[in-house]
């Protein structure tokens, strides 16, 4: 009887420790993902602003590099959470269009309603803000879907 009790207790303790460890690992993994997503989104937003400045300096059209950067950002953020590629492509398409329209209208609004440095660099400011918006919306959508899927990995 005492031996059986010991075996059961050891088994339960072992399971408890195993689940605590797994839980800790999942929390660490989730923290890592959040950190990487934050770094990615901010870096790509800065990259967008940089590309706008650079291409404006050389008087070149900047749509293609900005589109490539947006798509890459969305792909990298979604792949942190192992989102399927077909949905990644759908989101990339959606955010590229949304980014274009918001960016265009946003730039016009800023130019009409601001002055000084912001007015002169409206497209830089808008590129940065729109990229942040795209990145964070992507992050929250993907994270909310996969939040409960962590345990399956």
């Amino acid at each position: 009887m005492k031996n059986r009790k010991k075996i059961i207790i050891l088994h339960c303790v072992f399971n408890y420790v195993r689940f605590c460890y797994k839980d800790m690992e999942h929390k660490k993994l989730e923290k890592k993902r959040s950190l990487y997503s934050t770094i990615l989104i901010h870096c790509f937003a800065l990259a967008h602003a940089f590309v706008v400045v650079l291409f404006r300096h050389f008087n070149l059209p900047d749509e293609i590099p900005l589109t490539i950067l947006t798509v890459l950002m969305i792909v990298l953020v979604t792949q942190l959470y192992k989102f399927p590629y077909d949905l990644t492509a759908v989101m990339a398409l959606l955010f590229c269009f949304a980014g274009f329209f918001i960016g265009t209208k946003g730039g016009e609004w800023i130019m009409n309603n601001s002055s000084g440095w912001i007015k002169n660099n409206a497209n830089v400011v808008v590129s940065f803000l729109v990229t942040e918006f795209d990145g964070w919306v992507t992050y929250f959508v993907v994270r909310s879907i996969h939040f409960t899927n962590i345990n399956s990995e």
Partner: protein, 342 residues
Amino acid sequence: MRLIRRKNISMIFLIVVIVLLFRILYIDFFQMLIERYGFNVSSLFQSFVGNIIVLLLSVVLDVFAVWKLSRTKPYGHNSLLRFVLDICSILFVSIIGAIILNFKDLSVNANGHPYFYFLFSVLCVFLFNAFLVSVLDITFYALDVRQRMYQEGIKKRQAEYQYLQLKEQLNPHFLFNSLNMLDYLVQSQETERASLYIKKLAGIYRYFLQASNMELVSIEEELDFVGHYVDLLKVRFPEGFEVNQQIPAEYYQRLIIPCGLQILVENAIKHNIVSKSQPLQIDIFIEDDYIAVTNNIQLKIEIKDSMQVGLNNICTQYKDMLNREVIIEISEELFKVKLPII
């Protein structure tokens, strides 16, 4: 944590190329149509939103297309094909929408360029449908993930229950007591009783093995098994307890979770005094749509730590598999557990 594997680089490259092509063709072409032919986006959108038939038709077709795709092509498999099918379905719905939208007024709004205006309409309606399909696709995927997680949770808990059942099979304490009793019968030269005892013990383990692979068993089989189990216990506690089962024959083919009754009988004997002076009375009967197991409460003096693993597992099994609750009623004198019957 490797972010991107080598084999997925080609997929990412394809996504970038497709989105880029789309963006160039769509937006630049779109801008060209507006500037060259003087088409008005806002008036077209207003007429699209104002036309309830076209709007509803687009929504219904989009929902149908996404639902059908999610059924026939699972998410994550054949990503490129799925994406292409998505685009084709959006295009198809947009063309139908544009045709119905411009059925009467094409020449009026076209500014002398009906074909380009039709193309412009398709592109505008495509934007709306693309947004709707994207949202629907993500929603359906989220629902799919939740459903899969729920199923995995059930499988996990079922595996835990089966594991506990397997552990019970090899319960050395039960086997040790049973073999001790068998030895006593052999030493007492009660060969017939010993032979019957061995058959019942074998029957119990045979049932354990079968039950570990089954989700539900008939009440008749479970009662037969409980009968063997009680007979073995009776050799140890000849007059210490009594089990009365009053199940009408018409309920014998109804189903319950295997080993559910046995766990309840075992728990009753484990936690209560079993002696000639204080016999334990266990009753098994049908009440409403449940099979009830009751015992009089006469708890053992020494308090043993009970983790209620067996009872909790039965409750979880019923909840996961059948979405029904096990009812536990405790009064001063009576402990009652009611298991749903199927």
